[in-house]
């Protein structure tokens, strides 16, 4: 008995010691991230049966338990992934939003200043100083466009390298997880601290992507990312990598190396920070660049077009002010194809009104071309004519050399336009201030005359009948040159060698006076240029060029605001999940202090039992002396 009492006491002491140890471990790790509180599970020893009775034989520490709630942790992982996605999107869009409100705002400001300069020049069209100002403002518009495009381009590149860095970290995590798994196999009992490390790694991984973890039969785990791609399976980890995009090799795609094969992963469903990076690069930055590009094209094309319909100070037909967006070089750069492609496409922009943003995908299955619009609509197209071409959304796609079977080509009408914008005019005298259609016109409608070919007839007037159903061409004195015919005309009209085209927007009784005699004091073309400021050139007549900027800035603002709200919501969810996990797994110092005192007492009491046993043993010895 006495001997039993001693061992009972010593076991009590040992158990209390373990408790104190664990409490100490808890207190020491109070600030360790990812640490789960541990507690010692005490059990009574097996009973001693003696004389028909069961005698208790003391206590022992059965196990060190890790306080852990699998569901709370899963929830925390999911909410971490959501939060980091929303936070990353909010941060990216916030950056763009800020740029649109501050540095990029100089684009519309420059455009307005350009129009202001044109207004100034309209007052004295032959003034070289005023002409220089107009050209200088045009340069500022182009420079502003190029700057912002450059920033967006740089962000796209930065995002790509951020993606690479993130992928590298994710691979490291995968490797670390495998190491943890290996260590776990070597540990015979519950590897509490290893499990903490495992969870911490999973937590970090879920910042980058959506993660789910399954327990395997051997006690190890499968770690699945995105919509079902195995990153770690027990002792093996796959490697994530990025592949050059197809057909745009700059848009690197995510891929998973499984053994010797490389499998591309859809960027969708990745979620987390990595998903946000892809969304930013492919959607947001693409949208911003497309919209700026549309502005650049709308602004340049409409001004270049007017230049071609008038005379400059030297009495010559006006030259382009800006880059010609329908030059062959730019037209063929709009079609993005793989490096080894033999296809030769040129994409010309014929109608600004219909120009949309986004990517068009052209696919050839060997017999038939299929075009997928940015909104996902598919249609079959057949290039026809010589050279073969087809029209879509204001673009004329000329197929000089067809696609190979099963080849895909991306068509991006406006993506790089803001970066390509340059002022190609260097002599201010080249600004065409005089329009062919002079200010002497009486116009209630939007009638316009285009000169297709200048000929012998230098001055004439297109006159509409009082009911607007007919028109005639006369000379300035009223002598009829082209007899009355139905309006609108069916095609080009020959006025004594000068070939003209009349649009269908003239109102009854309008007189469109055309003069092909250069006049250095005429400002009619400058007036028409000013009108571009408020003319709804884009989006089927719904937006001015400047409206496109406002639309973009507002759209980014809306996205930013909604991701901000989403971030707030995710933050609340994340905080709640975190406190649930903390409730179970976190260390409370007061509790540990209480435990410490408790186990100290237990230790002292148990050691007192040992003393008692010793004294009992002593008195027994003394009794036999």
């Amino acid at each position: 008995m006495g001997l039993d009492l001693l061992s009972l006491g010593s076991q009590g002491v040992l158990t209390a010691q373990r408790q104190l140890n664990t409490t100490g471990h808890n207190i020491s790790n109070v600030n360790t991230e990812g640490y789960s509180r541990q507690s010692v599970e005490q059990k009574t020893n097996d009973v001693h049966f003696w004389g028909g009775n069961n005698y208790g034989t003391g206590v022992h520490a059965a196990a060190i338990r890790r306080n852990y709630d699998k569901f709370a942790v899963n929830e925390l992982n999911v909410s971490t992934s959501n939060l980091s996605h929303a936070a990353a999107r909010n941060e990216q869009l916030g950056r763009l939003d800020d740029m649109m409100a501050h540095s990029a705002k100089k684009i519309p400001e420059n455009m307005n200043e350009f129009y202001g300069a044109v207004k100034g020049l309209a007052d004295s069209p032959s003034d070289m100083g005023a002409r220089k100002v107009v050209l200088e403002k045009a340069r500022m518009v182009a420079a502003g466009m190029n700057d912002v495009y450059g920033v967006l381009q740089q962000q796209s590149i930065d995002t790509s390298s951020q993606i690479d860095a993130t992928v590298k970290r994710m691979n490291d995590i995968g490797q670390e997880l495998v190491d943890v798994h290996k260590a776990m196999l070597k540990t015979p009992a519950e590897a509490n601290d290893l499990l903490d490390r495992h969870d911490k790694l999973i937590r970090e991984l879920s910042e980058y992507t959506q993660v789910s973890v399954n327990t395997r039969e051997d006690g190890l785990f499968n770690v699945i990312i995105g919509s079902g791609h195995m990153l770690v399976s027990g002792m093996n980890s796959s490697e994530l990598t990025t592949l050059p995009g197809k057909p745009d090799h700059q848009e690197r795609r995510l891929a998973l190396v499984e053994g010797k094969t490389v499998k591309a992963i859809s960027n969708q469903d990745i979620r987390g920070k990595l998903g946000a990076l892809f969304e930013y690069r492919d959607d947001t930055l693409g949208q911003a660049r497309d919209e700026l590009g549309r502005m650049a094209i709308g602004f340049s094309q409409s001004l270049n077009d007017l230049q071609g319909q008038g005379f400059d100070l030297n009495g010559e037909v006006g030259k382009n002010i800006f880059t010609d967006y329908n030059s062959d070089r730019i037209a063929s750069a709009r079609a993005i194809k793989s490096g080894d492609s033999t296809a030769d496409l040129k994409v010309y922009i014929d109608d600004l009104q219909q120009l949309k943003r986004g990517d068009y995908q052209l696919k050839f299955d060997g017999t038939q071309y299929t075009l997928t619009s940015p909104d996902g609509k598919q249609s079959t197209v057949t290039p026809s004519g010589t050279p073969p071409s087809f029209n879509v959304d204001g673009m004329r796609v000329q197929v000089d050399a067809g696609l190979a079977a099963n080849e895909r080509v991306l068509i991006r009408p406006a993506r790089s336009a803001a970066g390509q914008m340059r002022v190609t005019m260097d002599d201010p005298a080249d600004i065409a201030a005089q329009s062919y259609v002079s200010a002497s016109s009486v116009s209630n409608g939007d009638g316009d005359v285009r000169i297709l070919q200048a000929g012998g007839q230098k001055e004439f007037q297109v006159r509409l009948s009082p009911d607007g159903s007919q028109f005639a061409v006369t000379d300035p004195k009223g002598q009829v040159l082209v007899a009355p015919q139905a309006y609108p005309p069916g095609g080009p009209i020959d006025v004594n060698g000068t070939i003209i085209e009349v649009n269908d927007k003239a109102a009854p009784d309008d007189v469109l006076a055309v003069s092909l005699i250069p006049a250095d004091g005429d400002n009619s073309n400058l007036i028409r240029m000013q009108e571009l400021q408020t003319e709804k050139l884009m989006d089927n007549g719904r937006s001015t060029v400047l409206d496109v900027y406002e639309g973009l800035s507002t759209d980014l603002g809306v996205q930013k605001a909604s991701y901000k709200r989403l971030q707030d919501v995710s933050m609340v969810e994340h905080d709640a999940a975190e406190s649930r996990v903390a409730e179970v797994s976190g260390v409370n110092l007061d509790e540990e202090a209480a435990n410490m005192m408790k186990f100290q007492r237990a230790y002292m009491a148990a050691s007192r039992i040992m003393t008692a046993a010793n004294e009992t043993f002593d008195s027994l010895l003394n009794a036999t002396r």
């Binding site: 649109m100 007052d123 004091g521 005429d522 009619s524 605001a561 007061d590 202090a593």
Partner: protein
Amino acid sequence: MISRIASFHNYQSVSNDIMRQNVKVQDNQEQMATGKRVITSGDDPVSSIYIQNFRQQDEQIDQFIDSITLARNRQTREEIAIDESEQIMDGAKRKVMAMINGSLSVEDRTAHRQDLQGMFDNFMDLVNTKDESGNFLFSGTQTSTQPFYRDSQGNVRYAGDSYFRTAQVAPAVEVPTSDPGDKLFMEIDNPFGDYQPEYDLEDGSLLLMAKAENTNDADTSNYSVSFDVNANGDTTYSLMQDGTEVSAGLYDPQNGVEWNTLKMTFEGEMKPGDTINLERQDSFNIFDSFKKGAALSYADIDDASATAELHQVTEQFAAAFKHLNKARSEVGTRLTTLDRQESMHKDFKLVLNRSLGTMEDLDYTQAAIDMNEDMLALQASQQAFAKTKDLSLFNYI
């Protein structure tokens, strides 16, 4: 069950809360510092689209106001030039009328002629006025070409064109800012209708043509009418078309002479043998009037034809005066349009700024209250943390 508070998490969530509160206070401060409620589109996307639209309109209005200022400058300059030429017309008319005065000697006429010549030179100078940047005011859109010049015969020719410049002063309002010189000085409606009379009068005749009109624009023949007295002492007329007599009869002073679409009226006393030749001319130019006035001043004071033609010249100067007056009032109308447009723009700008203010500007009272609230909350959580941070069971063991 009493939930446990994890110490580490507790500190972290307190620090998170304080940080969030800090961000709010900083946002408040930024708003207060800029005075703007909406700084980027993300702050309030709905207001932002309006704000951007308002700003754009505001900018456009400013540009229109600038255009108006420039246009007004042009118009005022033109108005002055027209006003001055009006004065010259008036003076020239007086001079020519003075020449008609029969009591004048030849020397007097010479003096008047010299005056008239001087006025002509002034006038030539005026119509070739340049603006501040050296562009001719009245050459239409050929602003670097001198519009009026005298050829070897002393005739004035126009080298400009018939077009003009405009300024856009509102989205749908264009105002002309110049007038071509030919319209102003060379295409003045003929005060005698459609014909220019050329007199061949007997001495002492006081016959003058009042008006000769022909409603048939296609009729370009020359006419001449001569008067005579028949046996009864009644005045008769004979109308010749291109040298052939087409009509003759008694002259009725009430109705004048009428034939087909041609209608002529006369005034003054005629003498038998008076002939007036009519040349089709719908409009005349001032320069010819000057030239003619000067040429006629060489004629003898008693030359009835010359006197009649001097009368004609005074009529032309009077018509030119009226014509220029009309042109000046047109310029005046344009100036009024500019003023009206400008005040409309300014009114609109005011309204715009008011709306912009409601959309964009910060309500300082509200912002100050918000800021105080947020600061109070921040302070409270800081103090609460400071108070509770020392609470620990470890202090007691």
